[in-house]
């Protein structure tokens, strides 16, 4: 049997799948931070194009992928589905392990699956420039890649600490013609205010978001773009799961377990929402869908399901989601893409309803898992992806004990070629296993006023 399962370019999905159509009841709407009333399309017009706003609120089960977007996706899609024979052998497991390899995209992760359509819709709306933020640089490089293909400009506010520490992501953005600025910068009021108070600040994702949103809101030709959390982002990523389901069907398999890592939730949504749809509609009611997050930022396993802001400053609409509190600053783990206090509202709802279950792991154990994967399958995964790998290995080892030949599918969301310092730290035994002291945090908040 083949190690790689390919689809032809003709088989790229023509429609995104919108799991909102299959929820038993509609998603709770985002609320306006000032009025507390549900957000209406006009509220978002200053920073998003109307097509994306419509997708954000769409009840339709399928949404067509424009031809010009498909033309770009063809550069790397359909991505290969691998059967992890060597990992199975290393683990001595009867389980069948499949992984969807999204590291084949030019920027090296799943992020361009949404960067490309987002830039496309902005281009159609006459927007000339996109402003966004990036932490580790995965999203920034994906957006730089997409804007260069559609002839838009990009201004990317990169958290200053990463800007200095991860020079090669910044270099990629430059090759793709984007302007990459260390944040906080002197470009925006919010950046200047921070620099005045703390000139040596390393910056943060929260600050970078504020700068990008301000940039977009104050320039008519500029819109803002977000790489995760929002419904339309999750929608665009469903090409991953739709392809994977087709690829598995060609070898007459359907997963018993689907696994992905979760920060804001977009790569997880990509691999899992088509299968969650099968579960919700009763086609495969028993499928086990597992979201994996870091123990240091355990939004889904230890957060509260409530309305909260999407950003630190509290400027975004209130979203109904699992949250650790918008003022929670996650510890500095290497899986920077998983350091988010909240999560996709759709994913949160599915976890709340028991359609998806969540687990969490510590830093050192996920790097050990990533090492096992690298030494069997060869791919050195991103620290984020290593969380999914760890959960898969644990599931496979359970199969070894029980003798069950389960079929496990996971999203191998990106390579770790720019994350070697993280692996170095792992080998130097310098990685800290952070935890979230849930009970004490709840007690500490007991006397604080309720917000939101």
């Amino acid at each position: 049997m083949n190690t790689k399962i390919f689809l032809s370019e003709e088989d790229i999905p023509r429609r995104w799948y919108n799991v909102m159509a299959d929820l038993p009841s509609p998603l709770e709407p985002p609320l306006h931070p000032a009025t507390g009333k549900p957000v209406v399309p006009d509220d978002l017009k200053a920073i998003f194009p109307m097509e994306l706003i419509k997708q954000e609120m769409s009840p339709d089960r399928f949404i067509d992928i424009p031809g010009e977007v498909l033309d770009v996706l063809r550069l790397w899609r359909p991505s290969p589905l691998y059967r992890a024979y060597r990992l199975e052998k290393a683990l001595k497991t009867p389980a069948r392990i499949y992984y969807k390899w999204e590291g084949v995209s030019p920027p090296g992760s799943h992020k361009p699956n949404t960067a490309v359509p987002q830039v496309y819709y902005n281009m159609k709306a006459g927007i000339e420039r996109i402003a966004t933020e990036t932490g580790a640089g995965q999203w920034g490089s994906a957006l730089a890649f997409a804007t260069t293909l559609f002839g838009l400009q990009a201004t990317i506010y990169m958290v200053r600490a990463s800007y200095t520490q991860k020079p090669y992501r910044k270099s990629m953005m430059q090759v793709w013609g984007a302007e990459c600025i260390p944040s906080p910068s002197t470009r925006t009021n919010s950046g200047r205010a921070i620099l005045e108070k703390a000139p040596d600040t390393p910056g943060s994702l929260g600050i970078a978001i504020s700068e990008a949103v301000e940039d977009a809101a104050t320039h008519d030709n500029t819109n803002y773009s977000l790489g995760s959390v929002l419904n339309h982002v999750c929608l665009h990523q469903t090409v991953i799961g739709l392809e994977a389901r087709e690829q598995m069907a060609t070898v007459e398999h359907y997963p018993d377990t689907v696994v992905g890592c979760v920060g804001g939730g977009s790569n997880f949504a990509g691999i899992s929402f088509p299968f969650a749809g099968d579960k919700l509609t009763g086609k495969h009611p028993d499928i086990d869908i597992v979201a994996v997050e870091p123990a240091s930022c355990p939004t889904l396993t230890k957060g509260i399901f409530t309305y909260d802001y999407g950003d630190v400053a509290g400027l975004t609409p209130l979203l109904k989601m699992y949250t650790l509190g918008h003022d929670f600053v996650p510890p500095a783990i290497h899986a920077g893409g998983l350091r988010y206090h909240g999560g996709s509202p759709i994913l949160s709802r599915l976890v709340h309803d028991g359609v998806i279950r969540a687990v969490s792991y510590h830093q050192n154990e996920v790097f050990t898992a990533a090492q096992t994967f690298a030494r069997s399958e060869g791919i050195i995964v991103a620290p984020e992806t290593s969380h999914a790998v760890k959960a898969v290995i644990d599931e496979a080892l359970k199969c070894r004990q029980s003798g069950e030949a389960k079929t496990i599918l996971f999203n191998c969301s990106g390579h770790g070629n720019f994350d070697m310092s993280a692996y170095d730290a792992f080998y130097a035994k310098a990685l800290v296993d952070y935890e979230y002291p849930e009970q004490l945090i709840r007690e500490s908040l007991a006397r604080l006023p309720k917000v939101g």
């Binding site: 932490g135 580790a136 958290v159 600490a161 990463s162 520490q165 991860k166 390393p202 910056g203 943060s204 994702l205 123990a295 240091s296 929670f328 600053v329 510890p331 500095a332 783990i333 290497h334 899986a335 920077g336 350091r339 510590h362 620290p383 994350d419 310092s421 993280a422 170095d424 730290a425 035994k429 310098a430 990685l431 800290v432 296993d433 952070y434 935890e435 979230y436 002291p437 004490l440 945090i441 007690e443 500490s444 908040l445 007991a446 006397r447 604080l448």
Partner: protein, 398 residues
Amino acid sequence: MSWRYQSPPHFTSTNNQNTILRSFLIMKTIGFLINPIAGMGGAVGLKGTDGMLAEAISKGARPMAASRAHQTIDLLKDVPLRYITCSGPMGEEVLEEAGITGFLVVYQTPQVTTAADTKEACREFLKSGAELILFCGGDGTARDLYDVVSDTVPLLGIPAGVKMYSAVFAVSPAAAAEILRTGASAPLHLRDAEVMDIDEEAYRKGELKAMLHGYAKSPYLPGFVQGAKQVYEDQDEDLAKAGIGRFIAEVIRGTPDILYIIGPGSTTRAIARELDIEKTLLGFDAVQDARLEGSDLNEEGMLALLANGRPARLVISIIGAQGSVLGRGTQQVSPRVLSRIGTGNIIIVATPHKLAETPYLFIDTGDRELDAAFGEFVTVISGYHIAQRKKVGSGNPE
């Protein structure tokens, strides 16, 4: 020179609130002292040298402190530091061997040295404007120096003694050199470092009686624990303590029905500061709903407060350089006290820097069953709403 000399206070109050030193310091003038006999007992299996020098020598022990100190000084040859030292084996010889010139000898070393010489030399250093005391010795040397300088002048130890439970020691002679090299040109971070006092007589009989003697200031390099992707790990000790203090103070306010017994240390004192109560630096104090219920408690005092099944928690920090939780400087917390409180009600706090230095934690309650109840891992509060999982080591840290 950016620092001005101030006479050190000669007291060992348990409630020393002095914070004369700034957190950041550029250091040019170094008081350099070697305890020439440090480490000799250990080399011949004596577990310490205090009062055992003659026996150590008769067993063939040879001075080793000088060679350890030489390793540090040799690495500092090109660093523009001004040394103030003692004659002969207490400093001068090592500086000369390393080719250092222009140092000042302010204390004449007698034929046989004792703790009194360490203290007297240290006083002379201070009179001559030493901004930091670099010493080579063990816990006894650290204790003697601390008795003179308290927390007014930082101490940095080159490890050479048999027992080094105190946290003023660099991990190696080379590490001590690295700290001084940095401190000669850039502001250096200072932290509170435990000075431990060990009863060597009891120790040689196989009994470890480590008392917390005080908190000295000691320089450290705030290395970033990780090359973080998005944010720097904040390794500033004062900020970390403030974060821990704010968090636990909020917990205490949020649980007004629970009595909190708060152990010694400057990390736990940050909690008291947030609650606006006076806390003893070296003692155990009790707090409920942000009210002070008892100060400097002994075992009986704790048991009295814990009577009638009163719900309680114990807040303790890691004591000393080897990652000890309980068992070092916490003799008041007996197995009886711990059983009343319950191991599930113990909150351990420590700064990220302290945790980075101690790969394992060691729990020694004096009761093996109780030790085992902590399990393989413990959670340590290391910042505001942040904790770390630390592995519990087996056996004794030494």
